[in-house]
Amino acid sequence: MRITRKDFLRLSGLGLLGVAGRMAVRGVAKASASSAGSNATKRWGMVIDLQKCCRENGCDRCIKACNTAHNIPQFPDRAHEVKWVWNQPFETVFPLVQTDYARRAYAGQPIPVMCNHCASPPCVRVCPTQATWKREEDGIVMMDWHRCIGCRYCMAACPYGSRSFNWQDPRPAIAALNPDFPTRTKGVVEKCNFCEERLARGLGPACVEACQEKALIFGDFADSDSEPRRLLRSRFALQRKPELGTSPSIYYLV
């Protein structure tokens, strides 16, 4: 049997397709095997005491601490903003909790918002490359800036607007470079990481440490004796959009 050049090209093309198919099947098998089973030991979470937080108007110490710790660029253009923790008027954070004749507590008050580190995070569900994932041992929603392809599906999926995209190179817009934390490149998504780099060294999150009013209380929600859990037992608290079933790990004490 003679194999012509045309046949040879066709056969090698088919062969390549076969190999690619095998790799894809293997990958799927591996991915579905690794997604099974969880052994959560901790669940990091935060309680924000609005009575303390709103005592001083215009305070942004937590935001500044985060910006410095994480090399967050400052762009004047609102469209291209990158932010991990920021202030947002109370009524835009909880648009439907006080309507009509209900008493308007905290109206117009800026309150801090950030990634909710949801127990069931929609961003993780949609990411096509697992560049964002929930760390099983402590519930932190993580980001791999080297794997992210910048499709921004996670931004569309996050119901809280917690994710930012690097529309341009962020490095020239970093005020003071912190050499202990990586900078990002253009074209990737980023968000609050609950200071996992500090937690690994036994420290608390930078925003929590920076708050002089001690309005941000961080701890392990899996431990019923932890400070945030004790506060949640004694006071009324809100989560953002709990009806979506994402189960946010940030609570606001009102």
Binding site: V126, I149, R152, M155, Q168
Partner: protein, 385 residues
Amino acid sequence: MFMLEKAIVGGRRYRVWMLCLCGLILAGVLCYLRQLTQGLAITGMSRDVSWGLYIAQFTFFVGVAASAVMVVLPYYLHDYKAFGRITILGELLAVGAVTMCMLFVFVDMGQPTRVLNVLRYPTPWSLMFWDFISLGGYLFLNALISVIMLRAEREEVPPPKWIKPIVILSIPWAISIHTVTAFLYSGLPGHTFWMTAVLAPRFLASAFASGPALLILLCLVLRKVAGFDAGCEAIHKLGIIVTYAMVINVFLISVEFFTVFYSRIPEHLEHFRYVFLGLDGNYHLAPWMWLSLLLSVPALALLLVPAWRNSPRLLPLACVFVFVSLWLDKGLGLIVGGFTPSPFGAVTVYTPTWPEATIVAGVWAIGAFIITVFYKITLSVREAH
């Protein structure tokens, strides 16, 4: 190989057309190179409206691609002979449209060099992964079917038997690509504009109206420039398909309107208010969306009256109305409307920038180039007989 040699020769008009397309492609490539170096900041997208024209165009052209099933199904499944001359045109249109979809997704990536991470780390719970699979598979199926059919036509032999199951497979596959695309949006918590079970059916209805409308227009253009006759019966039948699909599409939109405006749930209402009435003094999108709604009225009138639908002068007009109306609805309003207002109730205006629009035009030109080449080859093969 693939009879490409037939695409190189052509008349003056053909060469001028191809040259114009090449010019547009070049402009698009240059703007894309700028986007590569400066980042997506050169587009009109923002933190609040994080998907824009690119993803909207992708969504629209998935519909055009899926609509090939409207000629494939009657021809292969019901042996409807009148579609014999245009079925391959539909399949080739699908190949061109899927290529455009892939390019639109590609130009939207922040890190295009990493795009194969989707295959390196397959993630079956992500709809984006399935979109890759379904689009890639659909491209492969349609390209294979067209090549085999065209080759059979050239050799004047019946197509090989093994192609039939592949053709049959391409029918549910076409439905799947647009369903998966709708699921990209309708499965997201917090975006009430997209969170409707009717999104996938609506996508299919608008696809089966806009795709065949485009195919009718292409057939009429081919009649003028290449003397290709699709046959009156085929064109009329396509007209009926467009009519049914458009009626169903308008019905589904009305169903959405009723649900949202009668229930008056603020979260659902505010997106529709922004899209059709304007919100907080921002009316940027509303005129376009009204144009889309208003165009569907004469389109439906022209399609529903048989005498008008079968008129060789009015049918193309109806097709243009249908296409533009659905393009505005799906290729513009759907994505921007889903993002506005933001989760904090902010209205951020999205206006595509010139480089962004040029990249979009470049991708269109690539699609038009591919379809022209395919149609040229097909018609040359037929002329040879």
